[in-house]
């Protein structure tokens, strides 16, 4: 073991094995043979035509009935579907693994657009808790406010709320981008592992608490920093990326990104080393 009393703090951690773990697991394995690419498809996906448009009134439907009907319309080739009267129902639009233009004329309840991969969605109202949880790819735009756990555990895609969002936005996110036009609640970015969060307004207490990795950009005031969340330098490439992202998101067009704060993980939490608790005390 390294001599902890003589090495600097940074090299102390490195010499004890921190930051050197070799990645293993499913993501490092080769799953597909390139020769079989043509046979690769998602189960339950359809060829749709974006110019083929229809409307669906879900006022008197349950969420399963509405979701089944969306699936049925996609199977008929409809690539643009307008949902009327969602009226705050829960779990609408979940599990869509297709390219699709989906427009909600109204508000969604909890778990709206959960576990989706690919659709472009515009919600002309508000969304409840856990909107777009586990989003893999695509774009979801909310015109008004959103509830807590917005974008929980997303892995990709763009999730945009033009209003304010509740607590624990981006909790456990593993990729993708979340953009908030207004304010965000407490514990934003809690335990996030990858991805980026942009908040143009203020953010509540414990920002980025226990984040593993990823980046949070804040335009307004920060209530407080969470454990292991630290400031980082906002580079010119960060600013370029922010401008491009805000432009694509149709939000904060004239926002001065040069004044934004950049928050990242300090990476000093226990999960970044392979030490015993007593050894860890000496290293941090």
């Amino acid at each position: 073991m390294a001599n902890l009393k003589t090495v600097s703090k940074k090299s102390k951690a490195q010499s004890m094995g921190m930051h050197t773990e070799v990645l293993t697991g499913r993501t490092q394995q080769k799953f597909f043979n390139p020769d079989e690419a043509e046979n690769f498809y998602y189960f339950g996906t359809y060829d749709v035509d974006f110019n083929k448009r229809t409307e669906l009134d879900v006022k008197d439907m349950t969420a399963p009935e509405a979701n089944k009907e969306i699936d049925n319309l996609m199977s008929q080739g409809y690539g643009t579907i307008v949902i009327k009267n969602p009226q705050g129902k829960h779990s609408l639009g979940v599990g869509i693994l297709n390219k699709l233009n989906l427009i909600f004329e109204g508000s969604l309840g909890y778990f709206g657009m959960g576990s989706c991969d690919g659709p472009i969605v515009r919600i002309n109202g508000r969304v409840g808790w856990s909107c777009a949880e586990n989003l893999m790819a695509g774009k979801v735009v909310i015109e008004k406010n959103a509830g807590s756990c917005f974008g929980a555990a997303i892995r990709g895609g763009d999730l945009i709320c033009k209003g304010s969002v509740g607590a624990r936005t981006g909790i456990d996110m593993k990729g993708g981008t979340i953009i908030i036009g207004g304010d965000a609640g407490a514990f934003t970015g809690f335990m996030m592992q990858r991805g980026r969060i942009i908040i143009l307004g203020d953010v509540g207490i414990n920002l980025g608490d226990s984040m593993y990795d990823g980046t949070i950009f804040v335009g307004g005031e920060i209530g407080s920093y969470g454990s292991d969340a630290v400031d980082s330098e906002l580079t010119s490439s960060d600013q370029d990326w922010l401008k491009r992202k805000l432009k694509v998101a149709e939000i904060g067009e004239n926002f001065d990104v040069s004044k934004m704060k950049k928050i990242v993980a300090g990476k000093k939490l226990w999960n970044y080393d392979n030490l015993e608790p007593t050894e860890k005390k000496g290293a941090i």
Partner: protein
């Protein structure tokens, strides 16, 4: 899980019984072990309305027992005698169910503590609410069942709060159902969604100060906590703000008084609340679908942030 809902009409009255029934029924998937209403009806404000029970409706896990109607009759008789001894004149009495009663009482007092202690010293008797506008009605079943059982759909008033309960830390019975009366304050009621982790510590302190607990439901602590603060001169809003640090755990709760309605959310924002606010109406609930039952049109709603306290007047 539990669901809570509330609404306040500003500057007018409405059919709050029916409206709250719709809101709570929309939340029935959050729990339908019991449902409770705190309705602030239009009255002339002269007499007290006392809702009380002389027995229990017993469900799963309750420590109470079902009793014979003759026992209820005997307790009612003792209540009547006690009221007469205190100089309280019963103007009107209704017995909706064998164990559930509603009295309109002509009684001159500002301090209901002594009054309540005497009534509740009768074994098996609990005052559900006492006030000149407030009526707390709670029983087992979902919102529609309780509304039908007590004919609440025609109650007209300015504001109301209610609760759909999924019993977790205490049994299924009326004594553990919400709303809780802010004993011994006239017209104060509380509903809560969440769990309080310093219940016993706070309870011991408050009991030493002379406050009373009727159940072992942690939510009752909020009513007693706020009531104790108000007893020492705090306003409703001040008491609610103190509760953010005085109460430990996760919670969203509503408190209503004769002319106001307030909400508080814990500093972790762990429990949901959706809020709609306009010049004429404030409606809020654990889920947006509760608000949609009274406002089906497209509206702007939002989630209050962590540690937020708001109070509205009628």
């Amino acid at each position: 899980m539990c669901g809570i809902a509330g609404l306040i009409h500003r500057g007018k009255s409405s059919n709050v019984g029916s409206e709250l029934q719709g809101m709570l029924q929309a939340l029935k998937h959050r729990g339908e072990d019991s449902t409770g209403y705190a309705l602030y009806g239009d009255t002339d404000g002269k007499n007290f309305i006392m809702r009380f029970k002389v027995g229990e409706n017993v469900g799963e896990g309750s420590s109470s027992v079902m009793e014979d109607v003759s026992v209820y009759d005997e307790r009612k008789k003792i209540v009547d005698e006690t009221l007469a001894e205190m100089g309280a004149k019963v103007i009107k009495e209704e017995r909706t169910l064998p164990y559930s009663l509603r009295y309109e009482i002509d009684y001159e007092t500002k301090d209901l503590l002594d009054f309540s202690q005497k009534i509740e010293s009768i074994p098996g008797v609990e005052i559900l609410s006492m006030g000149k506008s407030l009526e707390v009605i709670k029983d087992l079943g979902n919102a529609k069942m309780v509304c039908d059982r007590y004919s609440l759909d025609k109650v007209v008033g300015t504001h109301a709060i209610g609760h759909a309960r999924m019993a977790t830390e205490s049994g299924v019975d009326i004594k553990s159902a919400h709303p809780f009366w802010g004993y011994p304050f006239s017209d104060v009621s509380v509903v809560h969604n969440g769990q309080l982790t310093n219940y016993w510590n706070n309870r011991r302190v408050l009991e030493n100060k002379g406050m009373r607990f009727m159940s072992e439901c942690d939510s009752e602590l909020i009513a007693v906590y706020i009531a104790e603060k108000m007893r020492h001169g705090a306003t409703l809003e001040e008491g609610m703000k103190e509760s953010l640090t005085g109460l430990d755990g996760v919670f969203t709760y509503f408190v209503a008084t004769k002319d106001s309605l307030g909400m508080a959310k814990d500093t972790m924002a762990a429990k949901p609340l959706v809020l709609y606010e306009s010049d004429n109406l404030v409606a809020m609930g654990s889920e947006e679908i509760a608000i949609r039952s009274v406002l089906p049109q497209e509206i702007d709603t939002y989630d209050p942030f962590d540690g937020e306290v708001k109070v509205w007047q009628i």
